[in-house]
C-alpha cells in the first residue's frame, strides 16, 4: 500500500483549510503539511475571463468539473467539490456574528452558548479580515465594537445603493455597505483589483473577490503545502489498541482500486459541515461503532445554518438596474434583542433589483409587441419607480434531530453510503416561526411605506438553510459536544475538526468569516501541539 507521511494531514481543500494551512506555515516553518482534497484543482486564472463570458451568455457553470457526480449529498446546498470549495463562487460577504450569537443560552435561555468568549473571537475576526482583505466601514451601531479597522474602506456605494440607503434609512434602521472580501482598487494577495463585472457569485475575472485557489497556488509554489487533489479520503484508521488516529485512507479518482495511506502526527478535518461528519460516521470501527469522535453521539447532529425571508418592494425613487447588483446594504438593527422581549434576531439586507422591470413580449391585453412597441412598454414600467430586493437571515436554532445520516439508498462508486441532511428546528424556534415572519414583514413594510412604497409580494420563507454549519459542534463538555473550542475532538487527541462543522448555532448573517476566524484560532492551537 503506498503511503505518504507528513506532520499534519488536512482533509479538505476549501477556504478554512487554506487559511489554516497559511497560518500554520507561518507559525511553524518547515512543518510538513499535506492537504488532501477529493475534487480537482482549478488553477486557470487566465481563463476566468472566458468562463465569465460563457457563464453570462450561456449560463454555463464557470467552474468546470467542480463536482463528483456520485459523491453528492441530499440536503446539501452546493454540488461543488474542488480545491477552493464553495468559496470558489461565494459572494465574498464578510459579516461578523455578534456577542448574542455566542451567548444565546446565557442571555435568552435558548439553544447553547459557544465555548469561546466573543472578545477572543474578535481578535481572529481581525486576522481573518486582514487575510481576506475585507473592505468595510465601521458599523453605525456602537455595540459592533472592533479592535482594528477594516483593511480597506468599504466598496463605494453605487448611485443606486446611495438612493436605496437614503430610502431605507427613513424607516429608522441604519444601514452600511456590506463588508466584502474584495480588492477594491488595487491588487492584493496575487489577485487583481475589482473590475465590477458584477458576477462575484459565479466567477470573478480579476480574482478581486477572494477565492482559495490563489492561496493554494501560493502555498504550493512556496513549498508550504503538498496538495493531493482528486483523492477521496474514505476512512480514518486508529492505531492498534488506541484512540489515536494513525492514518487516513484515500482513493485517487484515476486509481479507484489503490489505497493511499496518509500517516501524520495530527489530522485536521476541514471538509465542511457535510463531509466532515460524514467521514467520521463512515470511519466507524469496533472501538467506535457509531463513528469516530462520536462517543457523545453528536456527530452529524445539530446541523444548523439560518433560514431567511425575502420580499420585493416597489418604491418611487429612480434607480438604474445593473449598476452593482451583487453589492448590498446591511442593517444590524435586529442583531440584538432585549432579553425581556419576544425573541427575534435577524439582519436586514437591501439590493437593487430589476424584478418586474424586464422586457415583455406581450402587453397586458396579450397583444404581441414588436420593436419600438416592446421598448416603449418596457420603458413604461422600468422608468416608473424602482424595485428593491429585501432579505432577512433570521436566527433559528437546530434541534438535536437536525441530522446528517448515512443514506443506504444512495452510494458512491465504492459502495459508501452518501450523506443525507435533514434540518430541523428546535421546539422554541418552531414555535416562533409565525411571529418571526410577522416581525420581518412589519420591518419590510415599514421600510417600503417610508417612501410611499409597498411590498409587491407577500414575504416568503426560504426552502433551504443558508450558510450551513454544525455536525461536529464544539462545547465545553464531552457530553454535549464533539470537540473543544479549538476543534480538537474529545475522543481523539490528534484529530481536529475546523470551521463550519464546529459551530453550535448558525447566527443571523453570512457565516464564512466566522468559519475562517474559528479555523485561524484552531491553527494557533495546532501549532502549539506540533
Amino acid at each position: 500500500m503506498p503511503t505518504h507521511e507528513c506532520d499534519v494531514c488536512v482533509i479538505g481543500g476549501g477556504i478554512t483549510a487554506a487559511m489554516l494551512i497559511e497560518r500554520l506555515a507561518e507559525l511553524k516553518p518547515g512543518l510538513r503539511i499535506t492537504a488532501v482534497e477529493a475534487g480537482r484543482s482549478i488553477f486557470d486564472r487566465d481563463n476566468r475571463g472566458a468562463y465569465h463570458r460563457r457563464s453570462l451568455e450561456y449560463g454555463e457553470h464557470p467552474w468546470h468539473d467542480d463536482y463528483i457526480e456520485d459523491q453528492q449529498a441530499k440536503g446539501m446546498i452546493s454540488m461543488t467539490m474542488a480545491v477552493g470549495g464553495q468559496a470558489l463562487h461565494w459572494g465574498g460577504a464578510c459579516n461578523r456574528f455578534s456577542v448574542e450569537d455566542l451567548r444565546l443560552k446565557s442571555i435568552y435561555g435558548l439553544a447553547d452558548d459557544w465555548p469561546i468568549e466573543w472578545d477572543e473571537l474578535e481578535k481572529y475576526y481581525v486576522e481573518a479580515e486582514r487575510r481576506l482583505n475585507v473592505a468595510g466601514d465601521p458599523s453605525p451601531y456602537p455595540e459592533d465594537r472592533r479592535s482594528a479597522p477594516y483593511p480597506q474602506a468599504a466598496m463605494p456605494l453605487s448611485f443606486n445603493l446611495q438612493v436605496l440607503k437614503k430610502w431605507a434609512e427613513q424607516s429608522g434602521l441604519r444601514f452600511s455597505p456590506l463588508p466584502l472580501s474584495r480588492n477594491i482598487d488595487k491588487p492584493f494577495g496575487g489577485r487583481g483589483a475589482c473590475g465590477l463585472y458584477d458576477t462575484c457569485g459565479d466567477v470573478c475575472p480579476t480574482g478581486a473577490r477572494y477565492s482559495p485557489d490563489f492561496t493554494y497556488q501560493q502555498l504550493i509554489a512556496a513549498k508550504k503545502v503538498t496538495l493531493h487533489d482528486r483523492m477521496l479520503v474514505r476512512k480514518l484508521v486508529l492505531a492498534d489498541g488506541t484512540d489515536t488516529i494513525a492514518a487516513a485512507q484515500g482513493y485517487h479518482q484515476d486509481r479507484p482500486n489503490e489505497v493511499m495511506e496518509y500517516r501524520a502526527r495530527l489530522f485536521v478535518l476541514a471538509s465542511g459541515q457535510c463531509w466532515s461528519p460524514h467521514l467520521l460516521l463512515l470511519s466507524a470501527n469496533s472501538r467506535f461503532p457509531n463513528g469516530l469522535a462520536n462517543r457523545s453521539g453528536l456527530v452529524g447532529r445539530y446541523m444548523n445554518g439560518h433560514k431567511f425571508i425575502s420580499a420585493q418592494a416597489a418604491i418611487d425613487e429612480e434607480t438604474f438596474p445593473g449598476q452593482n447588483m451583487t453589492h448590498s446594504l446591511i442593517s444590524r438593527e435586529y442583531f440584538r434583542c432585549p432579553a425581556n422581549r419576544p425573541f427575534v434576531r435577524h439582519d436586514t439586507r437591501v439590493w437593487e433589483s430589476s424584478a418586474g422591470k424586464e422586457p415583455r413580449l406581450r402587453d397586458g391585453g396579450g397583444r404581441l409587441l414588436l420593436g419600438d412597441e416592446l421598448l416603449n412598454e418596457w420603458r413604461s414600467r422600468a422608468l416608473k419607480g424602482s424595485s428593491v430586493r429585501l432579505r432577512a437571515y433570521y436566527d433559528s436554532h437546530p434541534s438535536a434531530d437536525s441530522r446528517l445520516t448515512l443514506d443506504s439508498t444512495s452510494k458512491n462508486r465504492y459502495g459508501d453510503p452518501m450523506p443525507k441532511i435533514d434540518r430541523q428546528l428546535d421546539a422554541a424556534s418552531l414555535a416562533r416561526e409565525s411571529a418571526t415572519m410577522a416581525h420581518v414583514t412589519a420591518v419590510f413594510e415599514r421600510m417600503a411605506k417610508a417612501s410611499n412604497g409597498r411590498l409587491v409580494n407577500k414575504p416568503v420563507n426560504s426552502n433551504y438553510w443558508d450558510h450551513p454549519a454544525g455536525g461536529c459542534r464544539m462545547g465545553a463538555s464531552r457530553s454535549n459536544s464533539v470537540c473543544d473550542s479549538y476543534g480538537r475532538t474529545h475522543d481523539h487527541e490528534n484529530l481536529f475538526v475546523i470551521g463550519a462543522p464546529t459551530l453550535p448555532t448558525g447566527g443571523t448573517t453570512n457565516g464564512t468569516l466566522t468559519f475562517v476566524a474559528v479555523s485561524l484560532r484552531s491553527a494557533n492551537r495546532i501549532a502549539e501541539l506540533t
Binding site: 449560463g59 454555463e60 448611485f159 465590477l196 458576477t199 449598476q323 422586457p359 404581441l368 421598448l375
Partner: protein, 198 residues
Amino acid sequence: MKRREALQTLATAAAALPLTRLRQGFGAQVRVPLEAQELTSDQVFVLRDVAGTVLPSAIGRKGQDEAVDNFLRWIRDYREGVPLSHGYGEPRLVKSGPSPARGYRTQMDALQAAAKARGGRFGALPLEDRRALLDDAFKAADVRNLPGRPDGKHVVADLMAHYFRSSAANDLCYNARIGRNTYRAIRVTTVRPAPLKS
C-alpha cells in the same frame, strides 16, 4: 445595400466553416455539427429583414444588423451537453440541451412561406400582417414571453430575447450608460449614469 450583402456573404462563409468546434479545457469534448444547424444565407437575409420589425428603430439599421450578427455568433458558439450553473439551494446537475438552432431553418422557411402567402417579403407587409404572422408562429411554438436565453422555440423570439435581454438593450431602455455585467471602474457606478449619446 452593398454592406448588407457583404454581411450576408460573411455569414455564408461562416456557415460553411468545416465541421465543428471543440471544447477546450472543459472536461469531455462535445462535438456539435454546426453547418446543419445554421441558417442559409437566404434565411440570414430574411432574418435581417425581420430584425427591422422586431428590434427597436433607435439602434438604426446598423445596430439591428449587429444584433443579428451577435445572435448568429451566439448560436455558432453554443455548446451542447455542458453543465449549467448549479448554484446554491437545491442544486442538481443540468446540462445544456440541443442547440436552439436545430429548428431554425424550418421556422424560417415557414415564416418566409407565410409572408409569401400574404403578398411577399416580410418587411414589405403591413405592420399588422407582420404582427399576425409572428403571433401565429409564436403561438404555434408555445412562445409566451421572451425566453431568458434563446431556447429554440422560435428563431425570431430568440433573436428578440438575445437583444432585449442584453446589456445594450438595458442601457437603451433607461437611456443610460449602465454597462451591466461589463468591465467598469467602480467610480463610474457611484454617480448617476450618463445618458446615451443621441
